[in-house]
Amino acid sequence: MLKAILTEQQVALSIKRLAHQVMENHLQLQDTVIIGMQPRGIYVSDRIVDELKQLVAPAKIKYGKLDITFYRDDVRKELKLANKTDISFSIENKQVVIIDDVLWTGRTIRAALDALLDFGRPKKVELCVLVDRRFSRELPIQADYVGRAIDTFPQQKVIVKWKEKDGIDEVVLV
């Protein structure tokens, strides 16, 4: 059973909206940094950053990528390949917006917070996700900016497809 959650057009609109919502809270993005989560959150963050570039001077946007493989709480269960972390600026006293594709148990974001603190002490950390699987959290973590909130069963899977990789932009529930 395949159920569409977001169509191509909805993905585009959601991303545009998320970019504007981030802008609304971080005028001029002066003390704000954007952190995309490796590996799959990068597709969302790349597009949000593209939208932000329409709104402020691109040189003002501080955009990094974070891989949390070494911070996972389940490393001993399954070995995942580490991806590149690229944060070439200081996050000390900055407002950080973490961007990921799907928020589910909250464990990835827990690891991301730990990893982030190893780069400095941010003033504030916010979370922006394309899809929020509500009521399935295993840790007290919630998102500040949500593309689409959905209710799911634990055995269901949310699949996010991207043009660059899968030939189409869409989100489906399996």
């Binding site: 269960k77 390949l81 972390t85 780069f119």
Partner: protein, 308 residues
């Protein structure tokens, strides 16, 4: 994705995919080492013992640092300050340590094959930190990592290994690794320090003329003359060795190309390598040491996460 092996006993047992996995994981750890907090919690629940039955500065400190950067608990063991001096066997020593709930063993031993013997008798994961004149796998891995970092590739790279090949575990591990990754290897040094049937046993070229090797290669890995392993004179004097096989700045300048100079340390300055070469712009010796920590982190991380 996981290593095909449970221990790192030698490069000989690794598949090219294993080597690739270690090198690419090391790349990510190298980035970790640039952070303000140069540490990750991956091996918080792992205890590692460093068993050094033979002297070492670099390797031992590098392993220790790698373990701590991964948040592992570490124990250190030096043969001279232990019950080995009272006659305890290797297996007894290790079994006693393991009964204190140790998960991994990093071992250096003067007997070739010592870690292979241990691997057959104990349940912990073993990392060979150098066994006699057999292998020194993490050195070969960090050498490969450094070569790749400097030149951008391993496949098709021409590497000259120069000096005391006979007594060098670094040479053997490097030859295995470079062969598996598609690099070409030339061995150079005095005939007395090159094993007789090496061209039949391994896929390498041999020359007794150092200049010829330097002219051929992209990277020269210069080895230490291991006086402590020679029980008979294999060349007449250190000075003569330097004149015939040592690498001087003048020799490098006489080549019609730029090559990269590597050395696993410790350097005998003025013997196999002159100071102005060791400290010169062609040398990546200190990068090798820096990369050693990231590569060892990758090895420990991948081995620890292999067992469930």
């Amino acid at each position: 994705m996981a290593l095909s092996t449970q221990h790192l006993l030698g490069i000989k047992d690794l598949k090219p995919e294993d080597i690739q996995l270690i090198l690419s994981t090391a790349q990510q750890f190298k980035e970790v080492l640039q952070r303000p907090v140069k540490k990750v919690p991956s091996l918080r629940d792992v205890t590692i013992v460093n068993l050094f039955f033979e002297n070492s500065t670099r390797t031992r400190m590098s392993f220790e640092l790698a373990e701590r950067r991964l948040s592992a608990d570490t124990l250190n063991f030096t043969a001279s300050a232990s019950s080995v001096a009272k006659g305890e066997t290797l297996l007894d020593t290790v079994n006693n340590i393991l009964s204190m709930k140790v998960d991994m063993v990093v071992m250096r031993h003067s007997a070739s094959g010592a870690p292979h013997f241990l691997a057959k008798h104990i349940p912990a994961a073993i990392v060979n930190a150098g066994d006699g004149i057999n292998e020194h796998p993490t050195q070969a891995l960090l050498d490969a990592f450094s070569m790749q970092e400097r030149t951008g590739k391993l496949e098709g790279l021409k590497v000259a290994i120069i000096g005391d090949i006979m007594h060098s575990r670094v040479a053997l591990s490097n030859i295995y690794l470079l062969g598996k990754m598609g690099a070409e290897v030339m061995i150079a040094g005095p005939p007395t320090l090159i094993p007789k049937y090496i061209t039949e046993a391994l896929d390498v070229r041999v020359t007794y003329n150092v200049k010829e090797a330097l002219q051929w290669c992209d990277v020269a890995n210069v080895l230490r003359i291991q006086l402590e392993r020679q029980n008979q004179p294999l060349f007449s004097s250190l000075r003569e060795y330097n004149l015939a096989y040592g690498i001087s700045r003048r020799l490098l300048e006489s080549l019609d190309k730029e090559i990269v100079i590597m050395h696993p340390g410790p350097i005998n300055r003025g013997v196999e390598l002159d100071s102005d070469v060791a400290d010169g712009p062609h040398s990546i010796i200190l990068h090798q040491v820096e990369n050693g920590v990231a590569v060892r982190m990758a090895v420990l991380y991948l081995l620890a996460n292999r067992e469930n």
